[in-house]
Structures are given as structure tokens and as C-alpha cells.
Amino acid sequence: MLRALVLSFLLLTGLIAPATAQTDLQTILQTHAAEVESPGRQSVGIVLNDLAASGLPGVAAFLEAWQGREVVRNAQDGLFYRQGRAQGNDVPLLDIATGAPAGTAPKSALTESRPNGGVRREIASALVRFQLSDPDIAKRSAAVDSIARSPDPEQVALLAESIDDEPDPALKMRKEQLALMLTARFGETTEARVEAIEALAGSLSLDVRATLNQILTTTDGVAAEAPQANIARLREPGIDMPLFTAYRELVDAGLAPPRVPPAQLKEALAQHVEGGTVAGIPLAQLSDPARREEAYQALAAQGLVAPTVPEADFNRALEAHVFYSAYAETDPAVTDAARRTLDAIQTKVGVNQTADIALDALSLASIYFLAAIGLAITFGVMGVINMAHGEFIMMGAYTGYVVQLFIPNYTLSLVVALPLAFAVTFAAGVAMERLVIRWLYHRPLETLLATFGISIALQQLAKNIFGTQARPLTSPGWLDGALVINEVIQISYIRIAIFVLALIFLGLILFALNRTRLGLEVRAVTQNPGMAASMGIDPDRINMLTFGLGSGIAGIAGVAIGLYAKVTSEMGQDYIVQSFMTVVVGGVGNVWGTLAGATLIGGLQKGIEWFNPSNTLAAQTYMILFIILFIQFRPKGIVALKGRAAGD
């Protein structure tokens, strides 16, 4: 039969092929007019093969129309058309090849071609073949998508055929992977499936994992003895599942009589109270579960309630049966291969996730670094605890927000906002230093309290001006989206930008402290203010500038933080404690120390979050506990100053 078909196909194509070069779709259809008009599953193959061989552009559209029962034959001229939406008795006709309007015809003159289910499947697979080798890449990719969405065993061969001719390398890879996935699920021999599964090992895609998981689907069952099935694992009642759930499975499988759960038992007893007793047992004794059971069994014996199994039988029944999970896939070689491959993939995913977390940690570290570096200067270099540092961050972020109100171009507004935020917070810092802090240099604990007063005042002031709701600080369009390295590792451009900003500031501060006149004077005042003063350096001026510098950087950090978090009057609070810890852990009075502290804290927080991803609160808690312990062992921080500057 098959041979005959192939033979006739060859014959037909051989005969018609020279003609089709000039001919159009209508001609081919007319050649097979009878088959097209009332297609049968056996005969449709010839038509489809002819169409496929013709290579005409309208074939795919025709097949879709045919599948959708839109093809009609007009008795008046004997030609095939696509029918439009009928209006009254007249049906508008569309040209079969081009879809252009081709007049109307009365309903009675049209014969609809009604392919049945089997034929439509044939058409569909032919259609897939067309789409898979369509010249338009969008159509090919859509066909691959649709196969991936609803995988079908019959598409394996079609897909495999189209791989070799695929010109686009990315789509070719997808096709190859999809073919492997289909083979893994629907392949005919065990060897072919195992081979396909093992070939999937290197992939990180979610689809591959879903396919493997599908192969590894299990169903739960229970039996007196372990059955001859591809058993995944055995389940222990009481460990893997509650006893009552396990027993319910037994009951559902018809392997044990039902046992009434305690709540229902109590209800049944309540319905049979007679004169202060239930089945002769006084109510007062029914607070004991054993007596309740006794009363219920007595009622059951009288036939008043549904019988229940005594507890001893309950336990015995659970012990006597095997609870198992069996693979739906019966071939153990396939499930073993799938399990192995999935494990390998999971390991690879784990490695990649670690890399992803490392990137996250790095970006968190750069945020902490930006938030803390200003503090490291004021606290570390000047010994002043500035509790209002968080509010300087907030001021910077609000500056960015206000700038965006006036400059609608986000890129331009960012370019304006960064220096403006620096200027605003620099001025605020200098004012605070002049008005408050310089009177308190010899009372460090009191700077903590005075700056706290400024902090709550500034916070409330921001609340009065900007309201309590969060204000947006929108990042420019070119910072949207994320850099996708593979299916697991990706990092948003904003975080990269913040990382770059942190690097720039690290460089700038190192340069300013080590290579400029101001830096030299700052370091001199830090080490020995008296000596510095006698060398002609004005410590007052240096203090003022240093404090302004630290505050200004906080303002820039505020713009950066505002870009990815919301701007609220309380945003500074979220960073102040972390910033202090960054400075203290890193070691006071040292830029590298702050960098080390930020890296440690960011890494720790992300690392702990990794163990328990759902709970960032717990991660912060454990991180702080770790830091408290860390300070015990290195009270001076990671990078401790040595010599006189250490102040010992």
C-alpha cells in the first residue's frame, strides 16, 4: 500500500512537475478536484504531496483555509474559492491563491470542502512542514513555538527534516533542541530516547527542565506489595505524609474500611447524647479520646452511626501496605537517564545561580559602598557620627525627583541631577558642620544625638514638603532592561550603572585623598591636627570641606539609590544602620576598608538570602548577628589602621 502510494506520488510529480512550473494553485486543485472537494484520509496524501512539490507561495494559506473549512467549490465555474462571511444568500468569494475578492455566489451553488478529523490532522502536519521551512523567519519561529507549546509525537520527523535547511543559526539551535526534547518524550526506541535525553544535558533552558520533569512525572499509589512498575520511591506514612492522609489513600483504593476522623466522631457523639450519657458513658468522661472511641464503637455496634476502624487496625493497615510513587513512564532506562540528566542540569543551574547571586551581591555591595563612603569620610576621617547621613541620601534622591519635574528628558535630567544633588547636600553638610558639629568635636557621643535631632527634623520636613507617598525617580530608557548572559544569569542595566558609579567614586576619592593638595591636608589633619595646624593648614577649613565632601557623595548615592528604589522620606533610614556597619566592619578611616566592608556585607546578605530566598528579613537578621560576632574578633575592622593614626 505504502509502496503504491509512493510510486503514484513519484509518478504524479514526475508527470506534473514540468507543468507546475508555470501552473498555479487552482490548476493543481483542479487536477485533484474530487479529492479536494471531499477529502478522505487515504487520498489526501497525494494532494498534499503535490502541493508541497509545487512550492507555490499561497499553499500554506490554502492549507490553513482548508483546515478551517473555508474552501468551497463553486458549481457555476467549477473553481475553488475561499468563502467570506455570508451576507443573506450571497457568499463573497476570495481567490484561492491570493485571497483577493473574486465576486460573490449564491449559497446553493457552493459546495464546502469538509475535511474530517483524520484529514485535518494530515493537513495540519503538512502545514507545519510548510511553516517550518517558510521563507519568513517569523513564521518559522512561530511554528517552532507552536510545536513547543503543544508537543505532538508526529511532529518529530517534520521538525528533524527542517533542521538541515534552516539558515538562521539561532533558530536552528532551537529546532535541534526541540527535536531532542520531542524525541526524548516520544521517541520510538529506548536507545533513541536515552540518547536524546543525554544530548540535552548541557542545556539550561526551562523548557528542557520541564520536559525532563514531564518524563519523570510520578503517580502515587498504594498496594499490599510493591507492584511491578517503574517505582520512583516508597513513601513512609507519618514521615512523607500525615497518617490520616495515608489512610485515606488506603480507603480510596478500597484496601481498608474507613475510619471516622476525630472531628466527625465528636459530632456524631454530640448527636447521640441521651440523658447526660453517650452509649452509657457519662459526658464528663468524654474529654478522654479513648473513652470517646469506646462510646463511638458502642454506638456503631447499635447501628446508630457508621462503623469505624479501631485505632489498632488503623495502624496495622498502614503497616501492611506499601505506599509508593511510580513513574508514568514505564521504561526504567529512560527515567534513569532523565533523572541523571536532570541532576546534571540542576548542578549546572546551581553553579550559574551562584554566579548570578555573586553578581547580585556585587551590585548590593556597590550600593552599600556608595551609601557608606560618605560616612566613611565623616565618621572615619573626622570621628563624627552623622546620624543625618541617611537624610542626606534622601535629600539627594529628592533633588533628582525635583529636577525631573522641570526637565522631562530623563537622560538630561540625570546629568543635571547628579552634580546638583552633590551641590545641595554639600551645602547642607557644610551648614551642619558650621552650625552644629564643630562645637561637638570633643564630644563624639553627643554628635550622635545632635545629628539624630537633625535627622528626625529633616525627615519630617521632607514629609511635609513631598508628602508620605513614594515619589518616582525614573531612569532613562537606555537603562531599562537587563543584560541577559544565559537563562539563569542576568543583571539589570541600572545595577551595572550603579556598580560603575561606585567604581568611579572609588577612583575619585582615592585620587582626591592621595594625589591632591586637599587630600594631603585632610590626611594631615586626620593624623595630627595640632601638627597640621602648625604647618599652616587651617583645620577648620579642612573639617568643613571634608564634611561637605562626605555629605555631597551621600547626595549622589541618593540619586543612584532613587533610580532603582522608590524615593520616600524614610529611605535614608533603610541605609543608615547598614552604612554604619559597613564602615565599622571595614575599618574606620580607610577607603579600602569601606570597600571591603561593603563587599562583605553585600555578599553576606545575598549569600544568606540564597539559603532561604523567601525570607530577606531573616537574611538581614543573621547578617547583623554575624557582624556583631565579627566585631568581637576584629574590633578595628577588616582593614585596621596602624600606628599613631589608629588612635591607640
Binding site: F379, G383, V436, S455, A457, Q460
Partner: protein, 425 residues
């Protein structure tokens, strides 16, 4: 020989009260205040003061107690702890667990007893669990609730948990010589860790819902809130009085001198041979326990406790009260706490009239924090002695002019020379 004998005779020991005249005055003022409130309350007097106001006054007394504890650890010992409100909160949680458990048990038992079949013990425990933890999607009792059914054990927890926490934390911190601002940051980190932990739903303490319904004391339902408020007011006043006397005793005499010595120059006291760490640990732990007791009295009057009350900012406010009241004198701390907390509730409660400037209307609910913040800066800058300093004018006590600060040694601070030309003048 005789004059050696007269020389050897110790100077006559002055009595504790004579050494600390403020104790007598403070107790007298407290007694008069308590009596006055009792006579004006709804339950025992004319009804001039509403029950809720009596509760506010009772709560204020508890705040005074924790402020005194803070003054001892900061104003006398020089440890600026930003964790004492955490101990206060732990005390509240410890008593709150019993209050909530016992009251839920009464309600649950009553409703279960109304059913025809009496409940089993397991059923009672299960439905108490569902009642208490239903709000965080659980019904299991976490381990820390093991003692919640016993008032005695829970009262023991009020003292034991903060005491142990302070002991371990203090031992770790003082042992490695963490001082000054570093210690403040460390205690603040501890407070933050604790409040973040309590914010989690699976902490076993109902996450950010906290414990509620604490104003209903199990077994005293028929007493009524009016009487209960006076009972707690008296208890708070008693605790404040006893706490004052105890701390006055701690900071007087030889131990007081050592403690103040540690504040002024820790290194010198250590060189004199005193075990500085042990003194600090003692003060830190004792004040933590007193703070917890104050919390255990405060929260039954407040009715609800949640992790936000433990957040670091609460402890900073405590330091603010003490500083405004005046450090280094116990009555100063009590005055500061009462003054600022009452004033704060007056301003934020809308008690203060708005000020119309013509172009802008100052509403104190919005502007109070700004006023507080700025006045706090002003007190720090211009009146380091705080409100308590006013009493020096009355008693003509002239404290020696301090050159140094009220803090410990300077931690990370650089040497003073040159940095303050105005001091050098």
C-alpha cells in the same frame, strides 16, 4: 598616741538619704502625684481624669523607669546603649505571651465547654493555637511558647531573657573592648536584628501583628478597665519608686564612684586595678532587667505590642529623653521622659493649637518632630545639663565645670589639640 587614734577613726558615715537628698524629694513627689491621680481617677476618686489618661500617666511612669535605667548606663557609666528599648520590648513580649495565652485559653475553653461533648486537652491547645497563630497562617505552638501557660514562669522570663541577652551581648562587647560610638552602633545593630527577627511571621511571635488584647488581664475581667488602670498605675509608681531607690544606691558609695570613674576615664580605672568589664557588665545587665520590668508593666496598659516598638529609633528616643532631662542625675532622666513623652502625645494628639502665620498654617501634628529635633540639637549644644540643670539653680549646687564630655574615652576620636581653637583660648 591619742591623736593617731583620733586620726584613725573613720569619718562618720553619712546616711544614704543624707548622701542622696534627691531620693527623698523624688519619692515625696511621686507619692503626692500618685495620691493625686488616685483621688482624681474614675475608679477611686472624682472621675476628673479619664481612664485612658490614667493609663497614659501609668505608661509614662514606666517610661520614667526605663529612662532612669538608661541614665545609669549612659549618664553614670558612659555606655550609650541603643538597645534598652529592645529590652523594654522583650519584657513586654514575655508578659504579653502569658496574657494572650491565658486569655485565649479562657475564651476557647468557655466556647468549647458550651458544646455538648467536653473537649480533650489536645483540642483545647489546638484551638488556642489556631486563635493565636491563625493570623500568621499557622496553628502550631512554637517552642518559645512552652512556658506561656504559667504566669510564674513567664514572669521569670521577663527577667531571665533580657538579663541573659544583656549578659551575653555585654560580655562579648566589653571583653573585646568595644567602646564609645562603636558600642552604640553595635547595640543599635543588635536592636535592629531583634526587631527584624520579630517582624518575620515564622518568628513564633505573630510577626508584625504583634501581641494584642493585653489590656484584658485573665482572671480580673470583672474588675473593669477603670479599676485596672489604677492598679497598674500604682504598680508602675511602686516600681518607679523602688527602681529609683535601687539605682540611687547603686550609683552612690564606692561602687558609684567606680562607675563614674569608668565614664570619665576607663583606662585609668583599669590601671587602678578595678575589673572595669565586670562593673560595666553588671550595670548593663541590671539596667536591661529593669528596662524589661518597666516594659512588662507598660504593655498591659498599652494593650498591644509589635516589633515596630523595638526598632532602633525607639532606643534613640530614649536617649533623647534622658539627654533633655539631664544626664548624670536620676531625677533628670525621669523628668525628661515624662516631659517629652507627654508633650509629644499632646502635640501629635492634636492638643496643641495651630499657629496661623497668614501665608502658612503650622499644624503641630506635622511640625512637632521638627520642633523636637531642633530643640534636641539646641539642648545638646547649649544646655548639656538638660532640664535637670534648672535644679542646680534652686539648690545652688555648682557642679565642677567639666572640660571633658559625659561620654567614655573617645574611641575613634583624634586627639583634641588644634581641632578646637576656642577651647584653647
Amino acid at each position: 598616741m591619742t591623736f593617731t587614734a583620733t586620726n584613725a577613726r573613720p569619718a562618720p558615715r553619712r546616711s544614704f538619704i543624707a548622701q542622696n537628698p534627691s531620693v527623698l524629694w523624688f519619692l515625696l513627689a511621686l507619692a503626692v502625684f500618685t495620691l493625686g491621680v488616685t483621688l482624681l481617677s474614675e475608679a477611686t476618686g472624682t472621675g476628673f481624669l479619664s481612664t485612658s489618661f490614667v493609663k497614659t500617666l501609668g505608661k509614662t511612669l514606666c517610661l520614667c523607669l526605663v529612662a532612669i535605667a538608661m541614665d545609669v548606663v549612659w549618664g553614670y557609666c558612659g555606655i550609650l546603649s541603643l538597645g534598652h528599648m529592645a529590652f523594654f520590648g522583650i519584657g513586654g513580649y514575655a508578659i504579653g505571651m502569658w496574657l494572650m495565652y491565658a486569655r485565649t485559653e479562657i475564651i476557647v475553653t468557655r466556647s468549647l465547654m458550651a458544646a455538648p461533648i467536653p473537649p480533650t486537652e489536645q483540642e483545647i491547645v489546638d484551638s488556642i493555637g489556631t486563635q493565636i497563630f491563625g493570623v500568621v497562617g499557622s496553628s502550631e505552638f512554637p517552642l518559645i511558647w512552652s512556658f506561656a501557660d504559667s504566669l510564674f514562669l513567664q514572669l521569670l522570663m521577663v527577667i531571665a531573657v533580657p538579663g541573659l541577652l544583656a549578659l551575653v551581648f555585654g560580655w562579648l562587647a566589653f571583653r573585646s573592648r568595644v567602646t564609645g560610638v562603636y558600642l552604640s552602633i553595635l547595640t543599635q545593630a543588635m536592636t535592629l536584628a531583634l526587631s527584624l527577627y520579630l517582624f518575620q511571621n515564622d518568628s513564633g511571635l505573630r510577626g508584625n501583628n504583634g501581641l494584642s488584647g493585653l489590656q484584658n488581664i485573665p482572671g480580673l475581667e470583672e474588675m473593669g478597665q477603670a479599676t485596672l488602670s489604677i492598679v497598674f498605675f500604682w504598680a508602675s509608681a511602686l516600681a518607679l519608686g523602688m527602681g529609683y531607690v535601687m539605682f540611687a544606691w547603686v550609683v552612690s558609695g564606692k561602687m558609684g564612684s567606680v562607675i563614674r570613674g569608668i565614664r570619665d576615664n576607663e583606662a585609668r580605672v583599669r590601671f587602678l586595678g578595678y575589673p572595669v568589664e565586670r562593673f560595666k557588665l553588671f550595670v548593663f545587665t541590671l539596667t536591661a532587667v529593669v528596662a524589661a520590668i518597666a516594659g512588662a508593666l507598660y504593655y498591659p496598659q498599652a494593650g498591644i505590642i509589635n516589633p515596630a516598638e523595638i526598632a532602633p529609633i525607639a532606643s534613640i528616643y530614649l536617649a533623647v529623653w534622658v539627654a533633655i532631662g539631664g544626664r548624670g542625675r536620676l531625677y533628670g532622666a525621669a523628668i525628661g521622659a515624662a516631659f517629652v513623652s507627654l508633650l509629644s502625645s499632646w502635640f501629635t494628639g492634636g492638643g496643641a493649637p495651630d499657629i496661623n502665620l497668614g501665608f502658612y498654617r503650622i499644624q503641630w501634628t506635622d511640625w512637632w518632630l521638627i520642633l523636637l529635633g531642633l530643640s534636641f540639637v539646641a539642648v545638646t549644644l547649649f544646655a548639656p545639663k538638660g532640664i535637670g540643670g534648672l535644679f542646680d539653680l534652686l539648690s545652688h549646687r555648682h557642679a565642677p565645670d567639666r572640660v571633658g564630655d559625659y561620654g567614655p574615652d573617645k574611641g575613634a576620636l583624634r586627639a583634641e589639640e588644634g581641632s578646637e581653637p576656642e577651647e584653647a583660648k
